[in-house]
Amino acid sequence: MNFAKRACLYLIRKKGKTIILLAFLLAMATMMLTCISIQSATKDAAFNVRKGLMGSFTVNAKHLEGGLTEEVLHQILSIDGLSGNYTLRSYTQASLLDKLGDALEIEIDGAASVPEGFEHAGKIVANSNSEKDTYFTEAGFQLVEGNAIISEEKGVVLIHEDFAKRNHLSIGDTMMLGNIEDKKLHIEVTVKGIFTNTKEQDSLGIVPSYDLYENIVFTDINTCSYLLFADFGQSCQYGDFYMDDPEELDAIMEIVKAIPDVSWQDCVITKYDKDYQNARDALVSLQDIVYVAIVVITAICFIILSLLLIFRLRNRVYEMGVLLAMGISKSAILMQQLMEVLIVAAFAFVLAFVSSSFIAQQVGDSLLSQTISANYETVDLTNSKTKNKSKEETNNMAALAEVKLAEIKVSISIIDYVLVWIAGILICVISTTLAIIPILRMKPKNILTQMS
């Protein structure tokens, strides 16, 4: 009778002991598989967060007359790793004139006094995409008529509905924007859209008239470039550049800093990745916890399995003595013990796939959603406390919400399952060998004496 048959007969005839071993190995495999699956899911979640929470940097002029030239802009956009998602911004004031050059009527109620020359001025906000401007994304501005201004447009404006009513302007009408200091510098623009504000303006009474919501005019980068630099083009004061992978932010910022055409005495580069770092830190912490759990569970399982097998084998010393007395080799006895444990382990690992699938999803969902939610709240609070919220923060909030809402599947992958099989088999083999070695090192006579 070979060792395989003996092993099978033992497992069949000693049902109680087989079930105890099966239950333990099932628990061990389930815990290991659950932890490994959660760890894989946190890796995926971390990847999603990286993709969702785009880091960004902003290059902006220190002075009103400085800024990013079109040439510099092209050099920055040619750097690998930028998502292609960027926003150009400029801010200035300009006289609001009709097409004949006469001053248009602006809102002055509730405004602080303004310096000479600014009596008919409005704030000019240029954006490569007006929809993404913080006035629209956070301050409650809404288009009521017409369309948003998009990149590459020239000579178009969005005006407030009060300003439009007051001056009888509608979509398609023309008006002029004039440089405050250089009266000869002006540009004709067409009304492309009319907006309104859904939230009341703060700080009324202390803001100058050109900063009142009613007097704000959105225009394109080219028009603003002409007003600021007397030159049509994409030159601007602020450039926000978004990353494919926030991990590369520092490296790309170094490349930008090395662009020779930028005067860093007049420009500043600022990094925006706080939200990503917060999310990343939370997920890294979770990964660390799960990693420690895997190590601890493996170690505990190894110790308990060894003890279980020692007790199990202690009761079978007589059997080994008899087999040795009959000339059956020590290796055959070891193989029988290994086969018994491995057969039970194989059943346990198959069952563990089912149990882990259920448990991993429950535990993983709970852990991950807690981590993401906590982080989401942190970002939300940060943003609500900041009045001048940047576009990056807004995008990050939305992206994080997406990560939260998208169900993070804690599923058992084939790789995780194979990993548990390998780890489980190694634990079984090492535990069994360690448990049986002291017995097999004894002389058969000593074993038989112990039996007596």
Partner: protein
């Protein structure tokens, strides 16, 4: 011609307490030998040495003229000798037939029937058999290994008189009809008297009492 030869065998525990002192003996096939002596005199130790369960401190044991150490103790146990223990030592999760099949070189069923077990008894769990029946299974297991030498340690020690007599008859039959060399360690004078040769182990020396 002797099948098993004991040549100047000595054995001591922890290099201090000597239990066997230069023992010499020659054991032949077709005979039943009994080794008697007081408790602790080294009877079981001598049996263990003959069966290759342990090695002598000095001297050597030869099987068919070859030192069993050179043959290999595990090989010697597997091919040349078989054990019968006082407490039977059957594997408790196997049936009698499976116990006999463990190292069987012969078909188990005829041997089990020869030692007096029925077909139904052969399918039961060994723990559900009586002591006598369990010892018969142990004898069948020894016979099935086709070993030339059968070493029995108090084979009737746990049995009643009638059963012990039956087991003794089976062992005698093994020796005389199957040409086995049977070596029995026993306290029982009745069993020893049935042997062809009686050795008495006293103060580490082996004395022949009956030939």
């Amino acid at each position: 011609m002797s099948i098993l030869e004991i040549k100047g065998v000595g054995y001591s525990y922890d290099s201090k307490r000597s239990v066997l002192k230069g023992i010499n003996a020659a054991l032949e096939a077709g005979k039943m030998y009994a080794i008697t002596g007081p408790s602790g005199c080294g009877k079981t130790t001598l049996l263990s040495l003959l069966g290759g369960l342990d090695s002598p401190s000095k001297g050597q044991i030869q099987f068919d003229g070859q030192d069993i150490e050179k043959i290999g103790l595990s090989v010697h146990r597997k091919n040349n000798v078989a054990f019968i223990f006082q407490s039977y030592n059957l594997i408790d999760y196997l049936t009698p037939r499976e116990n006999v099949s463990l190292t069987s070189k012969l078909p188990p069923q005829p041997i089990l029937e020869r030692v007096g077990l029925t077909g139904e008894e052969c399918k039961r769990n060994v723990l559900k058999l009586s002591g006598g029946q369990q010892q018969r299974v142990a004898i069948a297991r020894a016979l099935a290994s086709d070993a030339s030498v059968i070493l029995a340690d108090e084979p009737t020690g746990n049995l009643d008189e009638d059963t012990a007599a039956e087991i003794t008859d089976i062992l005698k039959e093994c020796a005389h009809q199957m040409n086995k060399c049977i070596v029995i360690v026993t306290h029982s004078n009745d069993l020893a008297r049935q042997a062809d040769v009686i050795f008495r182990l006293k103060k580490g020396e082996l004395l022949t009492e009956k030939k």
